[in-house]
């Protein structure tokens, strides 16, 4: 067939995919690239994030944001924090469509563009962006590149292993992202390379699984039902998940997902993609494995909505350390996005073959389909997300804590994981204190879902709560400072603050010093040596791989051989 792009100049065909990917990213996160920070639900960045024991999983809290916090701490000591956040957001929405477009086994630029938009404009991306799950966005963006590296391994191409490591590195910043990357790596490399792949993903994910294994404790099973996949419309949970949506939190679901035509559209897209996959399987070796992984993702995502599945999940979460990862199971549907986008793009190519004219219009319409059916992802959710600046109080408090050598950790009050400040448009946001203050900061990790509390897992909180209730000595539980955040829901008992010495008083924050002796041995975390060894091993494999890829090692050795 004649590709509509084949008559175009070479430079135009080559630049079309990167240009479209950049355009997609700008249309989605462009409004967030100005000055300031995006602070929404789980997304918190700060001007300079501290490197504290919790950043490496060495604290008393579960290693959920490990090693992401350590990496962001390192980056924000080199670049301004808001710039780091903007780079991450732009790349997360740029690399995904670019990688998916490059991955399609076709000579047609139009087909690549269809795959790019199909992968880069999805309900999964919208809901995770609105929920502030930037590590998921980054992992999702890396999956096509990991698949490409796996394919290169199957073909025996040089440097394929290091490509696999380098493209998995941004994904392994969190446990869920690491598992998404690992699944894709296994599917793409094939069963013959399963053992070396296992070795690579084990080392790369060691920064979170080592502290998780060393830290006793299981998660609350109550959260399984609360964090299940949900129906976004009359089509039910399964159809919502098939359409890459179905996130549990209705507050972050785009309004367009509730439209009555969406389930029909979802089923039609799925059927077309599966038809296209027949052709894709003929052209592309790992197609079946990638499709199988996608099916597994859908299965896991809806498992909690099936009675027996829900019981299995509840048992696993409450009995197996680390199985808390299985909550919020909708995240696994990220695996379904790649076969859906590639299958749909190849189906479009097949359809265009049977048209005597108007092929360009077919590709254009197929590429626009995801955008017109979910327009409310554009422009940061039509204004849902915005950038804001931290009040000066935060920098002042940080400065005081840096200058004062009073031992002990910081406790933030009122006790609540999330905040809603007027200076951030009353958005629900994670307490930013642990990512701003230069000391270990303890927050209450109990979360409330629909008004129902879900028990936290930080082992330090129960004795601290008891001390607060008894108006006891906070120094005895390792707390040297108390930070009261104003203008957010919650009450603070004045009697708790009465014996404390005020060190700073501002409109949004008041900082108190805890007088008297301090027990600094109260924080219990995993043993340091194995955790640091895991961090070092992962850092080493990523650094060496990146250098191997970036430096002209292969070319130099080739030159040497030719000279001989």
């Amino acid at each position: 067939m004649t590709d509509p792009g084949l008559n175009s100049p070479t430079w135009l065909r080559r630049s079309a995919l990167p240009a479209l990917s950049a355009l997609l990213s700008l249309v989605i996160v462009g409004p967030l690239l100005g000055g300031g920070f995006v602070l929404n639900y789980d997304m918190v960045f700060s001007p300079t994030q501290p490197l504290v024991p919790d950043s490496l999983g060495l604290g008393s809290a579960p290693a959920r944001s490990v090693p992401a916090d350590a990496v962001i701490a390192g980056l924000t000591h080199v670049l301004p924090g808001d710039l780091v956040q903007k780079l991450i957001l732009f790349l997360a929405f740029f690399l995904g469509p670019l990688g998916a477009g490059r991955l399609v086994p076709t000579e047609s630029t139009g087909v690549r563009l269809v795959a790019a938009v199909g992968y880069g404009w999805t309900a999964y991306l919208a809901e995770r962006l609105f929920m502030g799950h930037w590590p998921y966005l980054l992992a999702y963006a890396c999956l096509p590149w990991i698949a490409a590296a796996g394919l290169a391994l199957r073909r025996g191409e040089p440097k394929a292993w290091v490509r696999l490591v380098v493209w998995s590195a941004p994904a392994v910043l969190t446990p869920s992202g690491g598992l998404l990357a690992a699944g894709t790596a296994f599917a793409a490399t094939g069963w013959r390379r399963a053992l070396p792949t296992l070795a690579v993903v084990t080392v790369m994910n060691a920064p979170w699984w080592v502290p998780s294994v060393l830290r006793p404790g299981v998660s609350s099973p109550d959260a399984v039902a609360l964090f299940d996949a949900r129906a976004e419309n009359w089509g039910g949970a399964v159809t919502s998940v098939l359409g890459l949506g179905g996130y549990w939190n209705s507050e972050v679901v785009p309004a367009s997902r509730e439209l009555p035509l969406v389930p029909i559209l979802t089923i039609a897209v799925t059927v077309v993609a599966l038809l296209g996959f027949r052709e894709l399987a003929r052209r592309w070796e790992p197609a079946a494995a990638i499709l199988g992984l996608g099916a597994l993702g859908v299965f896991l995502a809806v498992l909690g909505t099936i009675p027996v599945g829900a019981e299995i999940l509840r048992w696993a979460v409450s009995e197996i350390p680390g199985a808390g990862l299985l909550r919020d199971a909708q995240k696994w549907v990220a695996w379904w996005a790649l076969p859906l986008a590639l299958g749909f793009a190849v189906a479009t190519e097949q359809a265009a073959r049977h048209l005597p004219r108007g092929r360009l219009a077919v590709f254009a319409a197929a590429a626009l389909l995801p955008v017109v059916s979910m327009p409310d992802l554009a422009f940061a959710g039509l204004g849902r997300l915005e950038t804001v600046h931290y009040p000066q109080d935060w920098a002042d408090v940080r400065g005081i804590l840096l200058a004062d050598d009073q031992p002990g950790d910081v406790l933030t009050l009122p006790l609540s994981t999330f905040r809603r400040f007027a200076w951030n448009g009353d958005r629900t946001q994670l307490d930013p204190a642990p990512r701003i203050l230069p000391k270990t900061t303890v927050i209450d990790d109990t979360v409330h879902v629909g008004g129902r509390p879900v028990a936290g897992e930080d082992t330090r909180l129960p004795p601290i709560r008891e001390t607060l209730a008894a108006h006891g000595d906070l120094g005895a539980v390792g707390i040297g400072w108390v930070l009261v955040e104003h203008g957010t829901p919650g009450v603070v008992d004045p009697e708790v603050l009465a014996p404390l010495a005020e060190r700073y008083g501002g409109e949004w924050l008041t900082l108190y010093r805890v007088p008297g002796p301090m027990d600094t041995a109260t924080a219990v975390g995993p043993t340091r040596f194995p955790v640091l060894l895991a961090d070092f091993s992962a850092l080493l494999i990523v650094t060496v791989s990146w250098l191997w890829l970036a430096l002209p090692t292969g070319r130099l050795s080739g030159l040497t051989r030719r000279e001989e």
Partner: protein
């Protein structure tokens, strides 16, 4: 097979356009169009009893 896929793609494009148009029309014409269109209007959680909701299933 190709013709079936072509027909399905055509149906899909129609459905997609219809979805987009429906979104635009319902957002503009709905009595609560303000909250439909202004996605910054967020559920406020409970807040009164001292907690901020993580979300609403």
């Amino acid at each position: 097979m190709g013709k079936i896929v072509a027909a399905l793609v055509a149906v899909l494009v129609g459905l997609g356009l219809a979805t987009g148009v429906t979104f635009g029309v319902t957002s503009a014409a709905s009595p609560d169009s303000e909250s439909k269109l202004d996605l910054r209007e967020r559920p406020k959680g409970n807040g009164d009893n001292g907690v901020v909701n993580y979300g609403t299933p």
